[in-house]
């Protein structure tokens, strides 16, 4: 990596900003600001820094609508908002998807609109940690805030996730390297373990790497539970791991003072899906009979957990909530986005702060290509290609302040450091404007 000169050409520093990238929500960033641009970011990882600094790249700056030739053309805000409101007001099965990269304040307006028109509201959990939530609903949820790990943990296990690439400061700021109250030597006081078929960058720096076979997660966790309960393992190799290794690992997990298990989509989305998480949670519950163990899903977007929390406290259900009957319903496979799209139910799709064009299965995207799509976002993406109306929002945590919930559910108020582009509008304002205009249309029709 080439040496980069420190940035000295800036007007002022805004301290303790929060990173709007992954679920680590690092709130110790310093933004170097010059002429209403963030020209440098201190303390952030490369993912966070590049998102914050290079946000002008492919930035959506003006409202757009498709013309008769199918090309997106710039329009004024009133035209775009009225057209979007018209679509929503006249829709019979609207679906509002996304929300994980915007603020709780914006979600409040979104839920208001959802309740008013009887739409379905859903977020990225539906395609990422949804099975985790299902498992939590099956067997329980023994978690903690990240500081507990920093201050106490002497064993940290990552499985199905590669934080060195996906949550780059997770080990450095929360779990492995920092000196904690009871772990004054930081990294040297902890055993780092990775269970992963791949020799990932996290595995490379771990003390123990357990390379079980692909889709071997369930069998492996099951074997540890069996050993823990004093059962004899009948096979010599389980999920590709020799029996004795499993017994030794179980013994060391029993004998730590405080263990933490972090798991990512690699565990959630292999063969056994939520059953993998079921057994991981039960393993942690069993370990608590011997010593202290906790676990936490490695949430991806900075506010994906926030949406689940917000919906849970407002409406009692975490995601995929359908209001078409005037009361909330939540039934996985029934009221979740991809299933609705596969059944071709929605007739209008609003996407905010998400990129279904890049992430959804082909069948779901085919339906999106056939129905009107309204996009609220800050950047161009595959979803923009599907969109019929594009409403440019602002960047939470950089241009607009707002609340988010970290992966461990710690709420953080993300401040703003610079002004948004003049032609863009805050997400919260846009969604509220849609609500007001939809309401006007509906009331006039009465």
């Amino acid at each position: 990596m080439a040496y980069e000169e420190p940035i000295t050409d800036y007007d002022h520093i805004v301290e303790n900003c929060t990173c709007a990238f992954c679920g680590s929500n690092c709130d110790d960033l310093d933004f170097l600001v010059k002429g209403n641009h963030v020209v440098g970011v201190r303390h952030a990882c490369r993912l966070g820094a590049s998102k914050i600094m290079e946000d002008e790249d492919q930035r959506l700056k003006v409202p757009m609508m498709r013309d008769e030739n199918g090309e997106l053309q710039e329009v004024d805000w009133d035209t775009a908002l009225d057209a979007a409101a018209e679509l929503i007001a006249n829709s019979v099965r609207p679906l509002f998807y996304g929300w994980s990269e915007t603020s709780i304040e914006c979600m409040k307006k979104g839920l208001k609109l959802t309740e008013y028109v009887g739409a379905v509201i859903d977020n990225q959990a539906t395609i990422c940690h949804g099975p985790t939530v299902q498992a939590v609903q099956n067997v329980g949820y023994p978690l903690m805030t990240l500081g507990e790990v920093k201050n106490r943990a002497d064993m940290v296990v990552y499985t199905g996730s590669n934080p060195m690439n996906a949550h780059p400061r997770h080990l450095a700021r929360y779990s492995v390297f920092p000196r904690g109250w009871f772990r004054q030597r930081g990294r040297f006081d902890r055993t780092l373990v990775t269970w992963d078929p791949k020799f990932s960058d996290t595995a490379k720096m771990s003390d123990i790497w357990v390379p079980f076979e692909e889709n071997g997660d369930y069998g492996f966790c099951n074997a540890i539970r069996a050993v823990l309960k004093g059962k004899e393992l009948k096979e010599d190799v389980i999920s590709g791991i020799p029996k004795q290794d499993i017994i030794d690992l179980t013994e060391s997990m029993k004998n730590v003072e405080f263990g933490a298990l972090f798991f990512g989509l690699g565990l959630t989305h292999t063969l056994s899906k939520q059953r993998n998480i079921d057994i991981a949670i039960q393993l942690v519950q069993d370990l608590n009979a011997y010593t202290k163990w906790v676990l936490l899903p490695m949430r991806g977007h900075f506010n994906v957990n926030g949406f689940n929390i917000y919906m849970a406290y407002e409406m009692g259900f975490p995601y995929g909530v359908d209001f078409c009957r005037g009361y909330p319903r939540y039934m996985i496979g029934e009221t979740t986005t991809v299933d609705l799209l596969n059944r071709k139910e929605p007739d209008v799709f609003l996407v905010i702060a998400a990129d279904p064009g890049a992430h959804f299965p082909g069948g779901a995207n085919m339906h999106l290509a056939n129905i009107p799509v309204i996009q609220i976002d800050i950047h161009w993406g595959p979803s923009t290609e599907l969109a019929d109306i594009v409403l440019p929002g602002t960047f939470i945590g950089v241009e607009t302040a707002g609340t988010s919930y970290r992966m461990d559910s710690v709420p953080i108020h993300m401040k703003s450091a610079i002004d948004p582009p003049e032609t863009c509008r805050e997400d919260e304002w846009i969604v509220n404007e849609l609500y007001e205009r939809v309401k006007k249309i509906k009331e006039e029709a009465k």
């Binding site: 303790n16 929360y174 519950q285 009692g316 953080i412």
Partner: protein, 571 residues
């Protein structure tokens, strides 16, 4: 807007009004002694009129509630109500959604509720939920009993520093008062352990629960906070725990009450039912209510709320995380846990209280024993520690049990397990509550205990929080067993609930939705000490928390609208 509630039968224990036929007059959100001729007349002839209810202890908003809603969709589905023109849709039975919480309290005629456990690190979450709850004002209590800074101050016996810390932390978390939960035990849970009794130190800290409770009680009186120390003692739910309870209360007996507060007590012991068990194991468990009630009868520095078991499928949630793990070992139901760095732990587990289960029947009977054995109703408050012993919507049912010994006998003979008869004295207690007692334990006493001068009564100058129930106390025999269901029905749907002079409930239906206010205590006169303490603890804060201090506090926009209680600690 002016109102006059005409011809009601008024119970206002604060002013010794016991069933007098009186008009209640309201102007500009306050109770007044006369109104203009423009006042709107509400004819409540012969109906029961009281101040709006005040709940001294419930879990209604915050991170553990949210874990509950997230992991128990079956509970959310159990209470679904469609939206109306005025109200949003409701969900949930034991852990209702935020709007449902507000509507349901409001329908019961309640106006003020204490959220009993706020971890300061996640106080923003609690306040966000309070913003989503309508129609009740909420007084949140911040958790201090296992806070590392507190443990350090107690160890150094630095009460001045501790007072400054508490004062600063109430401002940061925008909370109303202090709560202590299983002091030192929840810290021990950081290592999967617990402490036993008040003299067992937390591992590594060399500080005991008894010392923490005593120091924080002293600080509470030093600052003159409106509410007293609010304690959930050690050993919750363990057979043989009642000596720990008495020991905790006795540890602060000599702490002098601050002269500026309106309350009488220096310590409030919450969900006392869970702390009054005799015996040595669940095999020989029996009631320990009598000695604890006796202690309370002899000591005016103590108040309590009961935490009455109501025989429902509910969700337990508490910062007493090791106890939740104990329950998990007993029941095997899905266990959730949530430890908060440097501050506390917490746990949740669903529970099914069955009248046929010996232990549950015993718990039910112990709760009622406490109501009946504590002589002064001003020292005892009706709660279910919602949702721990049952959801708050069961308060009217508990009232029906208190008002009729016949109903209790009927239950003891036919409905509940024989442990309730054999291992408690409930069967021999024929005391019944009258309407004045009910008004005391649901309004006047909790308001006084919380130090809320303008609530829980109908005197001139009080907040116009009023409840009217569709029952004629003069023509109704509440002691009859067959009338129990009538009491439950009527007290569960107020004829009117008036909040700050506005009618929010009429005939058991929500007619208006107003935002709840966040009640918080702003201690003044300690600024210099606070500054010094913050400077002293900042290196530790920066090193061991995972959020920056600047991002730790609850900003003002999370507490809109608020009621600030300004306390001059220098006085």
């Amino acid at each position: 807007m002016e109102y006059i509630l005409k011809n009601g039968i008024v119970y206002d224990p604060t002013h010794n009004v016991t069933g007098d036929r009186k008009d209640v007059m309201i102007k500009d959100g306050k109770i007044v002694d006369n109104v203009s001729s423009d006042a709107k007349v509400l004819d409540v002839t012969d109906k029961l009129v009281m101040a709006a209810g005040v709940d001294v202890h419930a879990h209604i908003a915050g991170p553990k509630l949210c874990v509950g809603r997230l992991y128990r969709p079956e509970d959310s589905r159990a209470g679904v109500v469609p939206k109306t023109d005025i109200t949003r849709a409701e969900t949930g039975f034991s852990i209702p959604s935020c709007s449902a919480t507000g509507y349901r309290y409001s329908r019961m005629g309640y106006g003020t509720v204490t959220e009993a456990a706020v971890p300061p690190l996640e106080a923003k979450h609690t306040h966000e939920e309070i913003m989503a709850i309508p129609n009740i004002d909420v007084s949140p209590l911040a958790l201090f009993g296992n806070n590392w800074f507190v443990l350090q101050f107690v160890k150094k016996n630095d009460l001045e520093g501790l007072a400054a810390f508490v004062s600063a932390w109430l401002k940061l978390s925008k909370c109303y008062g202090m709560k202590v939960v299983n002091p030192c035990g929840s810290e021990a849970w950081g290592w999967g352990m617990n402490v036993h009794g008040i003299d067992d130190p937390a591992p590594h800290w060399d500080v005991t629960g008894g010392e923490v409770v005593r120091a924080l009680t002293q600080v509470n009186e030093m600052l003159g906070l409106p509410h007293s120390m609010h304690v959930h003692p050690n050993d919750l739910g363990h057979p043989g725990n009642y000596p720990t309870t008495i020991g905790t209360l006795d540890a602060v007996k000599d702490v002098k009450k601050n002269p500026n507060v309106i309350r009488d007590q220096t310590i409030h012991c919450t969900h006392l039912q869970f702390h009054c068990y005799g015996g040595t194991s669940w095999r020989d468990a029996k009631s320990g209510a009598a000695p604890v009630a006796d202690y309370i009868n002899k000591n005016k520095h103590v108040t309590c709320d009961v935490g009455q078991v109501t025989f429902d499928e509910t969700t337990t949630m508490t910062a007493d995380a090791p106890m939740e793990y104990d329950l998990y070992k007993l029941s095997g139901l899905k266990w959730a846990n949530k430890d908060i760095e440097l501050e506390t732990a917490s746990g949740l587990i669903p529970i099914i209280y069955s009248p046929k289960a010996p232990v549950n029947a015993l718990q039910w009977a112990i709760g009622l024993e406490l109501f009946l054995l504590i002589n002064d109703p001003w020292q005892v408050v009706l709660t279910t520690d919602s949702p721990n012993a049952g959801p708050f919507i069961r308060y009217p049912r508990i009232m029906s049990w208190l008002m009729s010994s016949d109903r209790r006998t009927e239950m003891l003979e036919n409905e509940v397990h024989k442990w309730a008869t054999k291992r408690t004295d409930l069967a021999s207690l024929d005391r019944v509550y009258d309407w004045s007692d009910i008004a005391t334990v649901t309004r006047s006493a909790p308001a006084k205990i919380l130090g809320l001068e303008q609530r829980g009564h109908l005197g001139v100058g009080a907040n116009a929080d009023v409840a009217v129930y569709d029952i004629e106390p003069e023509n109704f025999d509440a002691t009859k067993a067959s009338n129990a269901s009538v009491i439950e029905d009527v007290m569960g749907r107020a004829a009117y609930t008036i909040k700050d002079g506005e009618i929010v409930v009429k005939d058991g239906k929500i007619v208006k939705v107003v935002p709840s206010r966040h009640m918080w205590t702003n201690v003044t006169g300690f600024e210099e000490q606070e500054k010094k303490v913050l400077e002293d603890i900042m290196p530790m804060f920066n090193r061991y928390y995972t959020v920056k201090f600047e991002n730790y506090k609850v900003f003002d926009h999370y507490i809109d609208p608020a009621i600030e209680f300004k306390i001059d600690a220098g006085k």
